[in-house]
Symmetry: C2
Subunit: 205 residues, 2 copies
């Protein structure tokens, strides 16, 4: 066994290259040759680390999730649950160029996931994590008296996920105009609708 390069490190290099190619040409326009070139290698290297193109796509999808996760987890640790929810959702919005780039990538995976079961599985896991994160924050907000208690946290989280996706589509496709301030206002309005000015303990007493 004569190893010179770290395996998982090389795989990340190709995954990152794949994301850059997707940004340029879309998931449908992605080719193993282009990804190899983007990574600074040739197809011989890529096939050494990935059994197939599908595997590369899945790895790329997981890598894109790893890019967001740490920031999300940090923002979720905010003392106020409602404030944490605000900041977490804001982070997901297509507010910055970098965020819009990621959105462009995710959107590229959407269609592929409709016709590729493997991609669909990864995509579902991704959304489960995202919805779960929001659900947990909403639950926390309820128990801390910052949000209504007559609320199904999972259902509320599902609504919020849909809201964010809708904004993402409009902005990334460029079919609508939703400036940053408006995006945040929409999220705040939704959070305001589940928020509760009076603490839970008082309304119970």
């Amino acid at each position: 066994m004569a190893k010179r390069a770290d395996l998982s490190e090389r795989r990340e290099v190709f995954a990152a290259a794949a994301l850059r190619v997707i940004m340029k040409s879309g998931v449908g326009g992605l080719t193993v040759r282009e990804v190899s070139r983007e990574a600074g290698f040739t197809t011989g290297a890529l096939t050494h680390y990935f059994q197939s193109k599908d595997q590369l796509l899945i790895e790329a999808s997981e890598y894109s999730a790893r890019l967001m996760r740490p920031r999300m987890e940090k923002l979720a640790r905010n003392a106020s649950a409602i404030e944490a929810l605000r900041k977490v959702v804001w982070e997901a919005l297509p507010l910055t160029a970098k965020s819009r780039h990621l959105w462009r990538i995710w959107l590229g995976f959407w269609e592929r996931s409709s016709y590729n079961p493997k991609v669909a599985r990864v995509m579902r896991a991704r959304y489960d994590e995202w919805r779960g994160r929001l659900s947990m924050l909403i639950r926390r907000a309820s128990s801390e008296g910052q949000a209504r208690v007559d609320l199904d946290p999972d259902q509320a989280a599902q609504e919020l996920v849909a809201l964010v996706d809708g904004i993402g589509v409009q902005v990334v496709l460029g079919v609508g105009r939703i400036p940053a301030a408006r995006q945040r206002a929409m999220v705040d309005a939704w959070i305001g609708s589940i928020a509760q000015s009076r603490p839970n303990s008082l309304s119970k007493g």
Copy 2:
């Protein structure tokens, strides 16, 4: 000039076949051979009516819009502007199997529109029409005292478009669960937020 078949009629046959293929294999998986077979012809016939695959896709996109338009226009003629808005948006939701099929098609066009300027142009026109329809109804609701007057109709319509897209994504991708009743409730909640119980004339007086 020996014509036997109506030109625009044949083109619609191919457009409809293209939509069926997209439902099955996605826009990325669509091939001219498959569409020809689906239409009951061969590629020779298809190329006789379409200069390129892109033209076929655009025609198919426009055809899918023509499928919705009449129903939308009929529902928009409701006496009550708010009620018309409700019914029009409900019609756009992925509530029925048929509607979900159309959503699947639209979603397929999204990525392609990111990298194909021609498709992007058509897509933008489609959303302009959709947003304009909602904007008009909201404007009507305001002037009839059914909706707040301190409202930017275009901005409100943009929000509603995003909401519907978000629901569409979640349902069609199958990454979230939003039952029909919940979809309608979400729309109603949004409309409720812009609605006004007291007529405009009173609040002005």
